[in-house]
């Protein structure tokens, strides 16, 4: 990371002092907000089943679009990241001794996350490609 060239003006200093954990903390928030915003829309689109096939099929047709499919891939990745990182947070909070092993633990979670990303991205980009070909 780049060295800090000027002091923060805040009384609190910078939010975190450069541990890798600040990135997972930030990603946890960003993915969390993204997921809840999608959930708001998703509850409403699913509720359309209560108005019958025409209403529901017209609304879900909005997802049949390559750009929306890329957003969908982002959503799935966000859910996987948020879940794994949340599991890491929960483990550390319930078993504080794990803090001593925070770096290998985080590395293990990151590797697992990346390994999951590969098939998920492959499959969903394939679906997007099929949609473009149609």
């Amino acid at each position: 990371m780049a060295s800090r060239s000027r002091k923060s003006k805040s009384d609190y200093g910078s939010i975190y002092k450069g541990h890798e954990g600040q990135w997972s903390w930030m990603l946890h928030r960003i993915t969390g907000v993204a997921i809840i915003l999608f959930l708001f829309a998703h509850v409403i689109d699913t509720a359309a089943v209560g108005w019958g096939p025409n209403a529901y099929n017209r609304i879900t047709a909005a997802y049949e679009n390559p750009f929306v499919r890329l957003l969908e891939l982002g959503l799935v990745i966000a859910v996987i990241y948020h879940s794994l990182n949340g599991l890491k947070i929960t483990l550390i909070d319930f078993f504080p001794r794990l803090v001593k092993h925070i770096r290998p633990l985080s590395l293990a979670f990151t590797i697992f996350f990346v390994l999951l990303l590969i098939p998920v991205t492959w499959i969903m980009l394939g679906q997007t490609w099929d949609l473009i070909q149609k």
Binding site: G50, G52, P96, K100, M124
Partner: protein, 150 residues
């Protein structure tokens, strides 16, 4: 809800209850915030199954979300298992997500009036969606629009 902050004068030592170790992360000492803290972790573990399972089941099999239409939902919700799964996911995800928004707002929004307005907005949206989702999951009856074709 704390609405004021005190400037930090030295490195904070997280206060911990019932433990003489300084290991671990800061956590609320009690009251409402401790219960929401605990709820986030317990619901998080449940959502690890409910939300990740839902995501993988809906998006990854052949056809992806293209296969999801009214008939798909009609067949799927014939099973009380999936209705229960989806309802639990709805409720837990909304409370978990709304509380997350509340936490973020408490971190970044300093003005008490704005905090209050934002939080009330989250609660109204969350409550409305819980009611809407619950009504649909419980009352959905596809036979109103003809026989179910699997």
């Amino acid at each position: 809800m704390a609405t004021t902050t005190t400037p930090r004068t030295s490195d904070p030592v997280p206060p911990r209850r019932g433990s003489d170790t300084t290991l671990g992360r800061d956590r609320p000492l009690g009251g409402f915030e401790l219960w929401t803290w605990l709820f986030m972790r317990i619901s998080g573990l449940l959502l690890l199954v409910l939300a990740v399972g839902h995501t993988l089941i809906m998006h990854l099999p052949a056809g992806g979300v293209s296969r999801i239409d009214f008939g798909f939902v009609a067949v799927r919700w014939q099973s009380p298992f999936w209705r229960t799964w989806d309802w639990m996911l709805l409720m837990l995800a909304l409370v978990h997500g709304i509380n997350g928004l509340r936490n973020i707002t408490l971190d970044y929004v300093r003005k008490p009036g704005v905090r209050f307005a934002l939080n009330m907005g989250y609660y109204v949206i969350g409550f409305t969606l819980m009611v809407l989702g619950t009504v649909i999951v419980v009352t959905f009856d596809p036979t109103k629009w003809g026989p179910i074709a699997p």
